[in-house]
């Protein structure tokens, strides 16, 4: 409960900070619309040559694009800004202030910065998703929606843990922003169903950089192609990654404070 309250306070502070630069709203709106337009145009081009893509119908891929924008928006809203700030504060020493607070430091660094305009991506994503659902019509039942919500949350946990693990590396290597940049490019692969990619890449996108669980799997849940094993696997992976990120964070903090030396 207190966590939500803290998040609320940080969110408020971020809103206030951002309102000082209103032009960012329009920049972000423009950027999001261009990205969405490009994505939809890509879909239109591909589906002008074929009716299905790796077994996915046009409206199902459209739903995937919606998920891609929702999750991308969540990353851009809290995860990326918070982790970016973490890396920065390890370098300039302001992490000390966070560590001196009587609250879980991992929680604080995770919610410390919110890029509110990324909400635009989330809103657009839900819009695209709703459109896709209406067009898919009859196939979406209660189970699909429920498993979709669960998988979306699972995906969020996976991606958060993954980012935290990368950002925690900054305790050992001071410059790690580049890794985060690479991640952002890899994430773009999640715009298409993972089953389209060749075997080695599918493997990499599932087990090394688990983008598959973040976009494709929730979309699968919604379109009724999710197997129970995948669902269970995703939940287990989320739990495992979260645990690893937590342990690594602790070890990183000990490194930072010199407790491990």
């Amino acid at each position: 409960m207190n966590y939500l309250r803290l998040f609320g306070v940080y969110f408020r502070v971020s809103v206030l900070s951002e309102l000082a630069y209103r032009v960012n709203f329009f920049v972000q709106l423009f950027q999001s619309l261009v990205e969405l337009g490009t994505a939809l145009l890509g879909l239109a081009v591909v589906f002008s040559y074929t009716n299905t893509l790796g077994g996915w119908r046009p409206d199902e891929v459209l739903a995937l694009v919606g998920v891609y924008f929702i999750v991308g928006g969540m990353i851009g809203l809290v995860i990326q800004p918070g982790m970016g700030k973490l890396i920065e504060s390890v370098r300039d020493g302001t992490l000390d202030f966070t560590l001196a607070k009587p609250e879980d430091a991992q929680l604080l660094v995770s919610i410390q910065r919110v890029e509110i305009w990324k909400l635009i991506d989330i809103v657009l994503g839900f819009g695209v998703l709703a459109t896709a659902l209406v067009r898919l019509g009859e196939t979406v039942g209660g189970w699909e929606v429920l498993s979709f919500v669960v998988m979306l949350l699972t995906g969020a946990v996976i991606i958060y843990s993954f980012w935290l693990i990368l950002a925690t590396l900054s305790f050992w290597f001071v410059r790690v922003e580049n890794i985060l940049e690479i991640f952002q490019s890899v994430y773009e692969a999640g715009r298409w169903p993972i089953s389209l990619y060749p075997g080695w890449m599918r493997f990499a996108l599932t087990f090394i950089i688990p983008i598959a669980f973040v976009t494709t799997v929730p979309a699968e849940a919604l379109t009724g192609r999710l197997s129970a094993e995948t669902l269970l696997g995703a939940v287990l992976l989320a739990a495992l990654l979260f645990a690893i990120s937590r342990v690594l964070w602790r070890i990183g903090l000990r490194q930072y404070s010199g407790a491990s030396a």
């Binding site: 306070v9 502070v13 900070s17 300039d92 560590l99 001196a100 009587p102 609250e103």
Partner: protein, 326 residues
């Protein structure tokens, strides 16, 4: 001594730092093989601070002051030795401990840049879970003591350095900590602002009975606030005691300022003439001979005014470090 607010024994901190020579070749080599050396930032210091005391923590750059403060506030893990603050082991970073301390670093800022300070204060209120009535009261007091009223509603980026520091200090004290670590709180500020912050620290200490450990390069801060000083150098404790006895211990000289009716006298027979300005001679004499020389000056010369002083504290401190270095 469990009643001490701060208690440390043989505290040590060794940093392992990687080093390399300059140049491309060395840079490439260091990618694969790092040479490391150990730096003893804090090398076995011990002291106790009683509740409510203000202690000045002095030493040149790199003496280990900040490292010690960070160990005491739980940010750094000591390599050896023991530390306890308010009965807690700082490095365990228990919430009930962190709630009772604060660390202010003059060179770093915590407040959000683009929003007014009060909005950042709200953040601390949430993190420290300060009840709203307590919060209003303490904010009112801090506002009055630090004269924050006109600053609270401006974005922090529009404040001057000194104004920002006042807000930083207020943010750090909203939870009324019992132990306050101040690392160079007045650095870079003008004299008026330094004085105001000094007065505030004294008042906060008086009102809340807080224990204060303060580092500063400005001796005026130390003279105004601290009866007791702890001096460290190269991570070792050089002196711990009253400021006055530091002067006693480390200076073998006193300064005599004499004003004469006849401004062209040669006083070199009485002591070393340090300076001469508009009829004012400044003599440096061995401490033990002060009374005798003063007597002779008064007997021999047409003295208008005479003043015996301890040398300025900066000079004393410099001497402390110089003696240690040799």
């Amino acid at each position: 001594m469990t009643s001490a607010a701060i208690h440390i024994r043989d505290l040590q901190k060794t940093y392992v730092v990687s080093e390399r020579e300059s140049g491309m070749k060395a840079a490439l080599q260091s990618l694969f093989h790092r040479r490391t050396t150990e730096v003893r930032a804090v090398d076995g210091i011990s002291f106790d601070v009683a509740p409510g005391e203000i202690v000045g923590f002095l030493g040149p750059n790199g003496a280990g002051k900040t490292t010690t403060l960070k160990m005491l506030s739980g940010l750094l893990y000591p390599t050896a030795g023991e530390a306890s603050v308010l009965g807690f082991v700082p490095s365990k970073r228990e919430k009930s401990f962190l709630r009772q301390i604060t660390l202010v670093m003059g060179q770093r800022n915590e407040l959000y840049w683009d929003i007014p300070a009060t909005d950042s204060f709200e953040l601390n209120r949430a993190i420290y879970r300060i009840p709203i009535s307590d919060y209003r009261q303490i904010l009112g007091e801090l506002t009055e003591l630090l004269e924050l009223e006109p600053l609270l509603h401006k974005p922090v980026r529009n404040l001057s350095l000194g104004e920002r520091m006042k807000c930083e200090i207020a943010a750090a004290l909203l939870h009324t900590p019992q132990v306050v670590f101040l690392d160079e709180p007045t650095i870079g500020l003008d004299v008026t602002m330094q004085r105001r912050i000094r007065t505030f620290i004294a008042e906060y200490n008086r009102r809340y009975g807080a224990t204060v450990l303060l580092t500063s390069h400005y001796m005026a801060d130390v003279e105004a606030l601290c009866r007791r000083v702890i001096v460290i150098h190269h991570g070792k404790l050089l002196f711990d005691g009253e400021l006055a006895s530091l002067v006693q211990k480390f200076t073998a000289h006193k300064t005599i300022v004499v004003q004469l009716e006849n401004p062209n006298a040669d006083l070199s027979a009485y002591g070393e003439v340090v300076s001469y300005e508009e009829g004012h001679y400044t003599l440096r004499v061995p401490k033990a001979d002060t009374a005798r020389i003063t007597g002779r000056l008064l007997a021999d010369l047409p003295v208008v005014d005479l003043l015996v002083e301890d040398p300025p504290i900066e000079e004393v401190i410099e001497q402390v470090f110089a003696q240690e270095g040799s």
